[in-house]
Amino acid sequence: MTAPAAEQLKRILTLIPHLADGEEHPIEEVAELAGVDRQRLVADLTSVSERYDTPGGWVDGVSITVDPNNVSVRTSHFLRPMRLTMPELCALELGLGLLHRERSAEELPAIERATERLRKAITQLPSNEQHERLRVAELAAAGDPEHLATLRGALRAKKKVRLRYRAGSRKESSERVICPYSLVFASGAWFVIAYCDDSEGMRFFRVDRVEGATQLAQGFTPDPNVDIASIAGDKPFVGAPGQVMTVRYSPRIARWICEREGGTLETDGSLISDYPLGDMGWAVRHVLQYGPDAEALAPVELRAEIVRRLDGIGG
């Protein structure tokens, strides 16, 4: 495999258009540009600038000078970056494909034009076909893309949103005003994380249950102490914490749950997990989806509700 050499060549060819003006450039800045640390950059450039062979029919080549603080390049070649390679195009297309699924109708033409335009910027090689179709990605649909567009627009503009929302356990939707902090894709679904003016706290809303979204003129200032990454990573499918729900998963499925949610297996191979419980309907569905392999241990109200619902089915 020649990956290290290919990677080094790629880094050097990407850097030269930025550096080949005959001037000295601070190494720290160049390293940031190349996306590598200082040590790697110096090793890259030094290795190709220190030549021990005697040029024979030496053409007008590349001269690279590296001192402890600066780097300079002189050449009449590689003053433009190389065209995009097929793997690079495929990676960008994969991202554009994801956007295409999320965006509103009016945003789609720009995504399609960008895809078409990028195709004109690639190197043409017979091996291009081999790179296509090696990777695809798909995120679950987020309900009405117009709602997602409204939420995204409000998020950028830091404007409040009037949301008509049908909670999982409710038969009717209700309205509330939210301050959107972030859009999150987690556990196969889209959520908006927002401060809810009506319930005066941070809440998760599944975007596919949004029935209406209107951006309001009133703006908001996000609380700088709210750590979205931390909230998003902590069981985002759960509603606002009120009580704690404790569930025991049988050894048959415990490893799978453990992989998804973390935790430590009991000695018998089962797993006991706690969850913030904000929505009884969600909790019942969450436990019953595993049938006899999950048992709600607490609170007693949840156990009673599960038994009541099972009795209703004819258990």
């Binding site: 290290p4 050499a5 290919a6 080094q8 990407t14 290795s47 190709v48 030549r51 062979d53 024979g56 007008d60 080549g61 009449s76 070649h77 590689f78 433009r80 190389m82 793997p87 690079e88 195009l89 990676a91 991202g95 554009l96 956007l99 945003e107 720009a110 995504i111 960008a114 335009r117 910027a121 190197t123 090689l125 091996s127 790179h131 179709r133 090696l134 990777r135 695809v136 990605a137 798909e138 049908r166 409710r170 972030s182 859009l183 999150v184 894709f185 196969g188 985002p236 048959r252 992989e259 949610e261 309907g281 569905r285 989806q289 595993y290 006899p292 038994v307 209703g312 089915i313 004819g314």
Partner: protein
């Protein structure tokens, strides 16, 4: 400098020399003409003597192949490896066109290089909204967690950023993709990416979560897909002679078959579509069982029940009766159970029986506790 690093550096120096030599000439060059400008090919004196040695010729053939693999479109005029063959790298094929940005106030043009070899480069004009789309697409693809994909995105963005302010176009759109707790390591992704491109068989240990068993598998990789927050490898399991999806985070000890490294081990059938294969499926649609039609009565009106009903198709005149195509009766029955009576199966009898069995078994979990 270690010998490996030294070999790598020598190779990169040689590659730069080959590219420089090719780009310096408008007309195609023979290998001997080219080699005179590449010190790495002159070491044994055979080129200077006018009789390039076999070792030097093989070195050039390898360099050419590796440069092409890196995306460099070196043209061969004549047969590959033939002494009379000529080689060419057109600057217009190699260098990125000038990227312009069309705005409402006019077109922003990049500074052009006023030298031979660069004047003929074309121009490609992007709209400002397209620029935003590219920047956001880059962010989204990076969020998927595949380091190979991220590397390709980063290098593409660095190239485009020479002319276009991609960083300024968007630092992201405020969206997060939450990674699962168990993620595959970078080395696994890299090896799989390499095996996919070269169509080589791979062997690995796979942890089956259902039974918790680890088994050694040899497969022919067809593609990688990201769905429901996880990366999967779709491959033909050689031992089972069947398609399987493997969650990449459960793969370890991966080895790529390096026998006949330059020759593919298998062919992906033209009829195979990774996109169609990866299309988001519900758990009851997966599996090898015969597909059957299930009829379900939607008795509840909660948001969850309505969303579930939307996954099925209409069946008869009643809006509340929906039809689903399923392959796994047990998984579908359990999914219905999660709606706690809001979705009830009507057909086929095997599904109705399985549903009742699961309801009874679950009820027993709670009543057993009550009795004790």
């Amino acid at each position: 400098m270690s010998s490996t690093t030294s070999r790598t550096s020598a190779k990169v120096q040689r590659w730069i020399d080959v590219l420089t030599a090719l780009l310096s000439h408008t007309f195609p060059q023979t290998f001997v003409e080219l080699a005179r400008a590449v010190p790495g090919y002159l070491a044994d004196g055979s080129v200077a003597a006018g009789e390039p040695s076999g070792a030097v010729k093989r070195m050039f053939e390898r360099d050419k192949l590796e440069l092409r693999t890196s995306g460099v479109p070196i043209e061969t005029i004549g047969e590959e490896g033939d002494e009379e063959s000529r080689y060419r790298l057109r600057s217009t094929d190699f260098y990125l066109p000038y990227l312009e940005i069309a705005t409402q106030r006019g077109t922003i043009k990049p500074t052009k290089v006023d030298r031979h070899g660069y004047r003929s480069l074309s121009e490609l004009t992007f709209g400002a909204d397209e620029l935003v789309a590219i920047a956001e697409a880059a962010v989204r693809a990076r969020q998927l967690g595949d380091p190979v994909l991220r590397g390709d995105i980063d290098s593409a963005v660095r190239k485009l950023a020479v002319d276009m302010p991609l960083g300024a176009a968007s630092a992201g759109d405020g969206t997060y993709i939450v990674q699962p707790r168990a993620v595959a390591d970078a080395a696994t992704f890299e090896s799989l990416g390499d095996a996919l491109f070269r169509q080589k068989r791979v062997t690995f240990d796979y942890t089956s979560m259902g039974r918790g068993e680890v088994s050694r598998r040899t497969v022919e990789p067809y593609g990688l897909f990201f769905v429901n927050s996880h990366w999967y490898l779709v491959a033909r399991d050689v031992g089972k002679d069947a398609f399987r999806n493997f969650r990449v985070s459960r793969i370890s000890g991966l080895e790529v078959n390096n026998a006949k490294a330059g020759t593919p081990d298998f062919e992906i059938p033209a009829s195979f579509s990774l996109r169609a294969h990866a299309r988001s499926k519900n758990a009851w649609e997966l599996g090898d069982d015969q597909a059957v039609e299930a009829v379900v009565d939607i008795r509840g009106a909660s948001g969850a029940a309505r969303a579930a009903a939307a996954l099925g198709a209409s069946h008869g005149p009643s809006e509340s009766v929906r039809r689903f195509t399923i392959r796994r009766v047990d998984v579908f029955a359990r999914w219905l159970l999660s709606f706690a009576g809001e979705l009830v199966p009507l057909e086929p009898p095997a599904l109705v029986e399985e549903y009742k069995r699961q309801v009874a078994a679950t009820w027993a979990v709670y009543t057993r506790e009550k009795a004790s």
